[in-house]
Structures are given as C-alpha cells and as structure tokens.
Amino acid sequence: MTDTDIRQALTRATDHLESPPDLLDRVRAGGRRRVVRRRTLIGGGLAVGAAGVAGAVVAGRGRDLPVITRGDLAGNTELLKRIRKTWQEMAGPGDARILWAGSTPAGPVALVAQEMQPSFDALGFVDSDGDQLRTTGSSFHVPYGTVPPGAMLAGPDRDVLVVTTAGRRVEFSPGYRFDAAGHVQRTFTELTADENDMVVHRFTPSDGVVRIALREPAGEIPLANLHSVVDTAAADNQIPERINRDLPGWERAGRATVDGWDIVTMPAYGDPYGYHVWTGPTEWHLRAATPDGRRLVVQTVALDGTARVFWMHGQPTPHYLGLLEDGLSTETPAGVTVLHARLPEKLGVAVAALDCTFRYRTRSVDWLPVSGPAALLPDAAAELEVNPARGQRAVVPLP
C-alpha cells in the first residue's frame, strides 16, 4: 500500500463530513463560552435548580419578569454595574442577569447568566483579581433560566471554591492518594450551602496541580475555569506520549479477546470527579507473554505529573508496583527516563525508554543485545546499558 493509497483512504474516510451550516453563528454567539456537550443537554443532565439562586429566574420564557440578584453584595449597584460590564466583554451585548453576587475571601464573586441563543443561556462566573474583575474565561451552555450545579476556583491563588449547588447535595474532596492497589482514593465531605444554594469554601491548593474533586448525585460538577487555572496552554504541551509495544509472544498468547488489558479503560483506576492536569512521563503499554504462553502486560499510567506502574499476568487483573519515581525508573545523565520494573514471581524485568537501544547483563554473563526500545528481560538481568540516540551511554542497575 503506497503513501498515495493511505492519503486516499484517509480522504475517503472523511469525505462524508461537512461542517454544520450554522457553525459560524454558533461560534460567534458563543465567543469563549465552553459548550457542554449537546447530548448532555438533550439527556437532561442539566436540571433546573429548585430553589435559591435558581429561583431567581423563572424557567421557561419568563423574560419579562424581574431578575432578583441574591447574595450579600446584591445591593452594591456600582459593583453590579462593573460585573455586568466585565461579563459582557466576554459574552457580548445582551441582557446579563446577575443571579448572585457575594463576598468571598478572594473578593467579590458573581454568578451571571445571559441568553445567547434562543432558549439557551451562557452561565458563568465573574471574580476578582486584585481591584480588577475578570470572567472565568468560559461558561456553561444551559437551557434558559436554569442553574445546574457548577463551580469555579476564585482568587489569585485559586484557593477559594465557589459552588452553585442548585439545591443538590454537593460533596467536596480536597485531594487524593493512591492506595496499595493503585486506585485513586478520596474522602468526600458534604458542602453546606447557604440559603441561596451557594457555597464558598477555602482550601489549601497544591502547587501547579488541581487535586480537588466535586460530585453530586447526578455525577460530575463542571469547573468553569479549570483551563485557566491549570494553564492549559502549557499543560497541553506536556501531554505524555503513550507508546504501545507488543513484545515477542504477545500475538501468539491465546486467541481470547484482548479487551480489558488496558488500565485506562478500567474505571476503578480513574478519578471520575477529579480535575487534573494531563501531564506526566511517557506512558508505556507493553504487551508480552511469559514462556508458559500466558499474557503479560506492564503499563504506566500518568496523572498530574507522575505515573503509576501496573502489571497483569494471565488475567487482565492489575497489580500495582508503585509510582514510577519510586525505584521503578532512572533518569540517565542524558536526561533519558528509563522504566525498569522488576516483576514479582521472577517474571522478569520490563525495561523501556524512548529513542534508545539497550543491552543487558546478568551477574555471570556479559552484555547481551536487546531488540527495540522496550523489552522483558529475564529475572537474572542485573544491569542495563542504555544508548540514547543522542547523548551519553549509561549503565543502569536493575534493582
């Protein structure tokens, strides 16, 4: 199959697609608004709040009814004027409805809605950066007059959580840890909302990482300014590469389905209510087989700048080895991070590094060649020679 064939295949796979005719209108109307997936809207995932702030507007088409601003700053007309002006710099001209304006440890914060398209509101927050007001940079697209649960991190240190609960039970987790099985473990406590269904909660932030989580009975709670909080532009550039590598024997190891041999498809190892920076070291998904013909997978799963290391053997049941930096990797003087995961039951040592070639030796045998940048070495392997494409050779002990 030639390169031209590939080009034609990709073209034919996409020929049926045309951009929606109203795309430009939607984009212009939306501005910086982030759009909650249409299917979520259609599926009723965003319900109307029954009380408090949600009661400040009337669901349906009650546009001519007065909007009541709630919160302790509701009477500060000068502030409301500034909030409206700031909001409209993002959302454009229109009827900005300030549903709530309140004092927080991070300064004034407001919840604002504005009809952007027929039957839909942009709903978002305005907070303070010193003397200046600012929007969250994005907003939620919700049915007109509704206020589903949503949140933002306010203040210069992003350490003040502001939540509109829509009358629902909302729970907060300040952080997480990995348990002995490699699961993300969290403790949630219920947040106490005021009479306006608003919560203002200060917490201790983690430097450069958002470790908090929020949940409500219907599921996740969107964080309006997550992208600006975690500096998406920078984080995006650090999304780790995932390298799938099938080592000798994998394809011959049984005819059973290969589904399930991938940690990232297992909900138990995810963090469904957390907000994360998708950074971390290169992810490896090494698939091999042991001499008895059983499948063996070694996988690293990145999260918030680190990676968990797992192995599966015979069955797609993960076993947790630990964090990559805890004795399961070595950074060479050339800056190459080498995975070296010694597996239990004398299954061997999984090694991998980007753009490198390897040799290994045991205590009794001199250097032996290794095929490719990833391999499953015998358990007797004691040292690994790493030859990067650029940079200095290094010898890494295999503890």
Binding site: I6, H16, L23, T265, M266
Partner: protein
C-alpha cells in the same frame, strides 16, 4: 473579524475532518472544532497571521485530552456504530468499510502517532509543520508517522476482497 468569518467558512470542514480522525467520533469532532474556533475567535487578533497552525495545534492538544478523559472516565465506549452516526452526504458502501477500518486503526494508535499520520497524510503537511502542531522535533514526527503508517497499512491491507481501495 471578517478574516475570522472567512477562515471558518473556508476551513471548518477541513478542521472537522482532522478532528474526526483524531477523535474517532463525529459529534466529539464537531464539539472539538467549535471549541477550538471559539477559542480562536477570542484570540483572533493575536493569531490572525497563523490561524491554520494555531487551529491544528489546538485540535491535536484538545483531542488528546478528550480521548484520555473518555478513557479514564469510561464514558460511552467508542463502538464502531457510534463512529458512523449521521453521514450528511450520500455514502458509498466501500467508503463506510474504509472509514470503519481507518477509524478503528487510528483508535489503536498512541495519540501522537495518530496526529502525525492524520496531519501528514490527510492534510498533506510537511514534516516541519506537523512538528509545530505536535510540539516536537521533525525526527519524532518521522518516527511517529512511520509507526502509525505501519499499523494503518496492516489494517487496510486486509480489507475484505471487493472493497475498492
């Protein structure tokens, strides 16, 4: 903002096609393109001289995030039928077979290999521009493309007989 309007009118279908191959799902691709264009709308004055490059990079970055979030959160699985929702133009049967095979093969690739292949072979971009979109070196693009192509070739080579490639 006339330039922005023109950009959307002339390039949104191309961006949608890239997004479709990056995400494997039409609805996700449409959301992604709208998302990126909204982001561009706000920054238009700063990126007006290089909107294509900005759009490609944003698509790649955001598609990677979405793919990963989908996997981590175990949302709706990417069933084959799901990728074929709602063609807007009349479809030839062979095209559907090829589309299914291409999307399936791309789904198996690591995100950067997928992006490298799509930008090199759907958009026909030179290696240097793909490198700019991926934020990596030209050498990495070449190796990612080679690996991705190898996988794609293996899948497309075994298409059923009678399917016109």
């Amino acid at each position: 903002m006339a330039g922005f309007d023109e950009f959307v009118r002339t390039r949104s279908t191309g961006l949608l096609r890239i997004a479709f191959l990056l995400t494997g799902d039409r609805h996700t691709a449409e959301d992604l393109v709208q998302d990126v264009l909204e982001q561009m709308y706000v920054k238009w004055r700063r990126i007006e001289g290089m909107p294509e490059a900005y759009a490609r990079r944003a698509l790649v970055n955001r598609s990677t995030n979405r793919w990963r979030r989908r996997a981590r959160r175990a949302e709706t699985p990417l069933e084959d039928d799901h990728t074929l929702v709602g063609p807007v133009l009349p479809d030839h049967g062979d095209d559907v077979v090829i589309r299914t095979a291409v999307v399936g093969a791309l789904r198996e690739l690591p995100a950067r290999q997928r992006a490298a292949v799509v930008l090199r072979y759907l958009e026909d971009l030179p290696v240097t521009e793909v490198a700019a979109a991926l934020g990596c070196t030209a050498g990495t693009v070449r190796s990612n493309t080679a690996r991705g192509l190898d996988r794609l070739r293996r899948v497309l080579d075994v298409l059923p007989e009678g399917v016109e490639r």
